[in-house]
C-alpha cells in the first residue's frame, strides 16, 4: 500500500503537533519517523491510523483520501509501545482476534495463527496468557496479531523501547528481515536514531511538528540539511564549533580564535556564492578528527575506552569536542595534543538559520 501525507497538520488547541507535513511512502517501503519526544511523530502515526482526524491536509492510501475512515476500516496492523495485548485472552486468542472479528472460521484462523507463530518462533506459548510470557515474546505476539489479517500497512510505535538492550538489537534485525520478506509497507516511530538508521529504507526527521529532512540513512548522515538533523543523527553526535567563513586570495577558510582551516575544492564549489565574511557553525563528526599531528591544539579532558575504539573528549579553547581514536590510544587528562580535521568531511551551517550551506 502506498501512503501519501499531503500537507498534513494536526493541532491540539494552539499546539501544532504536526505542521504541514508532506511525505510520500512507496509500496513496500520501510520508513522511520524519527525525532525527540514532542516532535509530532506519534501524532502523525495516530493520524495515519485514524485515531486523530487531520486539522488540515490529507492522508491518502493508494491515492484514496482516508481522512474520514475509522481505524477498523483502514486495513492496517499496528504494534503499540506497550504491545497492548489483551490480558484476559490467551496468546492464540490475541493473535486470532482480528480474524475472529472478520468472522473467519476457527479452523482457518488457527491455521494462520500457527503459521505466523512458527515464523515468529512463539508456537510454544500459544496457550499462555500475556502476563505469563516475557517482554520479547509479548512483542512477537503483538507483531503476529498485527500481521495476521495481512494488512496493507504496518505501523510500529516505538516497538523496541520496552526491550532490554541485547534483545533490542536482535529484534531490530528480525523485524527488518520480516518486513523485507513480507514486503509490507511499514512506518516506524522512534526517538532512537540507531533504530531508525539500522531498520529503515528512509528516515523522516521531525522536530516541533515540522519535517526537517527525509532521505536514506546514509544521506542523513553524510549530508544533513540543518543543525538539528546533524546533531540528532550519529553517536556520539557531530561536534559543532562557531567560526567565520572567510575568503582570502580566492580561497575559502574557516577561522576561529584557535585555528584557521583551509577548505578543499570539493567544499568550496558549493559555497562560492556566499558573501564573506559569514558567521557559520562548523560541524565535524568524531570519526573525522585524528589526534597526533596538525594545526589545531587541544587539551585532553577525558578518555573513554570502548573496546573497538576509544572515545576522547578534549577542549579546544572553552569548547569540548569528541573524537574517536584507535583502541590503542592512551593519554592522561590535561595532556596537550594536536588534531587534524578531515577537511572533506567538514559540514558548514549558517549561524542564523541553522541550514546547511553544502546541500
Amino acid at each position: 500500500m502506498k501512503v501519501f501525507l499531503d500537507r498534513l497538520s494536526k493541532y491540539f488547541g494552539q499546539v501544532k503537533a504536526v505542521d504541514n507535513l508532506t511525505l510520500a511512502i512507496e509500496d513496500g517501503e520501510f520508513v522511520a519517523l524519527l525525532g525527540p519526544s514532542g516532535c509530532g511523530k506519534t501524532t502523525t502515526l495516530l493520524t495515519i491510523a485514524g485515531f486523530y482526524k487531520p486539522t488540515a491536509g490529507f492522508v491518502l492510501f493508494d491515492d484514496k483520501v482516508v481522512n474520514e475512515l475509522p481505524p477498523r476500516e483502514r486495513n492496517i496492523g499496528m504494534v503499540f509501545q506497550s504491545y497492548a495485548l489483551y490480558p484476559h485472552m490467551s496468546v492464540l486468542d490475541n493473535i486470532t482476534f482480528p480474524l475472529r472479528l472478520k468472522k473467519v472460521s476457527r479452523k482457518e484462523r488457527e491455521t494462520k495463527a500457527k503459521a505466523l507463530a512458527s515464523l515468529l518462533r512463539i508456537e510454544d506459548i500459544l496457550e499462555r496468557k500475556p502476563a505469563e510470557i516475557s517482554g520479547g515474546q509479548q512483542q512477537r505476539v503483538a507483531l503476529a496479531r498485527a500481521l495476521i489479517k495481512e494488512p496493507g500497512l504496518l505501523l510500529l510505535d516505538e516497538p523496541l523501547s520496552n526491550l532490554d538492550a541485547k534483545l533490542r538489537v536482535t529484534m531490530r534485525a528480525e523485524i527488518k528481515r520480516l518486513q523485507k520478506d513480507l514486503g509490507i509497507t511499514t512506518i516506524l516511530v522512534t526517538h532512537d536514531q540507531v533504530e531508525a538508521m539500522t531498520m529503515a529504507d528512509r528516515i523522516a526527521v521531525l522536530e516541533t511538528g515540522k519535517l526537517q529532512q527525509v532521505g536514506p540513512p546514509e544521506e542523513l548522515y553524510n549530508s544533513p540539511a540543518n543543525l538539528f538533523v546533524a546533531g540528532f543523527i550519529g553517536t556520539p553526535p557531530m561536534n559543532f564549533l562557531a567560526a567565520t567563513l572567510e575568503k582570502r586570495e580566492g580561497k575559502f577558510f574557516i577561522t576561529t580564535e584557535r585555528f584557521c582551516l583551509p577548505l578543499p575544492d570539493s567544499v568550496t564549489m558549493k559555497i562560492c556564492q556566499i558573501p564573506t565574511p559569514h558567521d557559520v557553525i562548523v560541524g565535524i563528526r568524531p570519526e573525522n578528527i585524528s589526534i597526533g599531528q596538525g594545526e589545531i591544539r587541544g587539551e585532553i579532558y577525558v578518555v573513554e575506552p570502548l573496546g573497538r575504539d576509544t572515545l576522547v573528549s578534549l577542549h579546544i579553547g572553552t569548547e569540548i569536542i569528541k573524537v574517536i581514536a584507535p583502541p590503542t590510544f592512551r593519554a592522561s587528562p590535561g595532556e596537550q595534543v594536536q588534531l587534524t580535521f578531515s577537511e572533506e568531511k567538514v559540514h558548514l551551517f549558517d549561524k542564523e538559520t541553522g541550514k546547511s550551506l553544502l546541500v
Binding site: F51, R72, I76, Q81, S82, Y86, P98, E132, A146
Partner: protein, 287 residues
C-alpha cells in the same frame, strides 16, 4: 495497641456476640435474658409455633434482591461504559446526574420517591396524569415493590457506575485502540475488551450490592414502611420491626443471625462463581 483492641472489642465483637446470644432468648421489652434454646429458629423454619409471615417476607426479599441487583449492575455498567466512551464533558455530565442519589441525604431521596408516587393528585406523577386529563393511580398501593426496587436500584447504580467508570479509566488507551485497529466496532470493543477487564469490579459490586440489598431497609422504610400490608416487608425490615417496634429483641436477633449466615453463604458462592481461586494463584513472570 491496647486501647484500640479494647475499642474494637467494645464496638465490634461484643455487639456481635450479644446479638448472637440474644437470638437464643425470648428477650422482650423487659430486657430479661431467658434462654429458650432454638425456639426462635424453630419458629422461623416453621417448626412448632411457626411464624405465618415468614414465607411472604422471604419471597419479598428474593423478589426485591433479584430485581434491584441486576438493575444496579446492568444499569451501572451501561452508564459507565457509555459515559466513558462519549465526549469527556458529556460523559462527566451523565455521571454527575446519576451520582445525585448518593449525594443527597437518604431521607430526601426516600421522600422524593414517596412524593413522586404519592397516590393523591399532589404526587408528581399523578399531577402529570391529572394535567393530561388522565385518572390518577394509587402507585404505592398498586406497584409498591417496583417502586422500592427502582429507588434502591438507582441508588445502587450511582455507586456501581462510579466504580465501573473508575475501572474503565484505568484500562490503557492502547488496548482499546489496538482493538479498533484489529477491526472491532464500538460494540465489539466494549464486549471483547472493556467488559472482560471489568470482571473484578463487577464481582465486587455484585457482592457488595447483594449484601446491601439483603441488609438495608432504610429506603423501603422511608417510602412504603414495608406496606401496604407487608407487600414490601423484606427480611431486614421485618427484623427491625420485630426488634424495635414490637420489642421482640430475641426474635429480631434470630432473624438477623440467620441473615448473616445467608450473607456469608451467598458471598462464598459469588467468589466461587467468579473463580477467585484462579485469580489468587495465577503465576506471573516479570516483564
Amino acid at each position: 495497641m491496647g486501647p484500640s483492641v479494647g475499642l474494637v472489642l467494645l464496638f465490634y465483637f461484643i455487639p456481635v456476640i450479644l446479638t448472637f446470644l440474644i437470638a437464643f432468648t425470648d428477650m422482650g421489652r423487659t430486657l430479661i435474658w431467658r434462654f429458650i434454646g432454638l425456639d426462635n429458629f424453630a419458629r422461623l423454619f416453621g417448626v412448632g409455633s411457626r411464624d405465618p409471615l415468614i414465607p411472604r417476607i422471604l419471597l419479598n426479599t428474593i423478589v426485591y434482591t433479584l430485581g434491584a441487583l441486576p438493575l444496579t449492575i446492568v444499569g451501572g455498567l451501561l452508564i459507565a461504559v457509555l459515559s466513558m466512551r462519549m465526549r469527556p464533558s458529556a460523559g462527566l455530565f451523565f455521571r454527575s446526574v446519576f451520582f445525585i442519589p448518593r449525594a443527597i441525604p437518604p431521607v430526601v431521596w426516600g421522600f422524593l420517591w414517596a412524593w413522586s408516587f404519592e397516590g393523591t393528585r399532589y404526587g408528581l406523577f399523578n399531577a402529570i396524569l391529572a394535567a393530561l386529563g388522565l385518572p390518577t393511580v394509587q402507585w404505592l398501593i398498586r406497584y409498591p415493590m417496583i417502586i422500592v426496587i427502582l429507588a434502591n436500584g438507582f441508588l445502587g447504580i450511582s455507586l456501581a457506575m462510579l466504580v465501573f467508570s473508575a475501572a474503565i479509566a484505568t484500562i490503557p488507551q492502547e488496548l482499546t485502540r489496538a482493538a479498533e485497529v484489529d477491526g472491532a466496532s464500538e460494540g465489539q470493543v466494549i464486549r471483547y475488551v472493556i467488559l472482560p477487564m471489568l470482571k473484578w469490579p463487577i464481582l465486587t459490586m455484585t457482592a457488595w450490592h447483594l449484601m446491601s440489598f439483603l441488609n438495608s431497609y432504610v429506603y423501603i422504610m422511608l417510602i412504603t414502611g414495608g406496606g401496604p400490608y407487608y407487600a414490601t416487608e423484606v427480611w431486614s425490615l421485618y427484623a427491625y420491626h420485630a426488634a424495635f417496634t414490637q420489642y421482640r429483641y430475641g426474635y429480631g436477633a434470630s432473624l438477623v443471625v440467620l441473615l448473616v449466615v445467608v450473607n456469608v453463604v451467598l458471598f462464598l458462592i459469588i467468589l466461587k462463581a467468579f473463580g477467585m481461586q484462579r485469580m489468587l494463584t495465577r503465576g506471573k513472570i516479570e516483564v
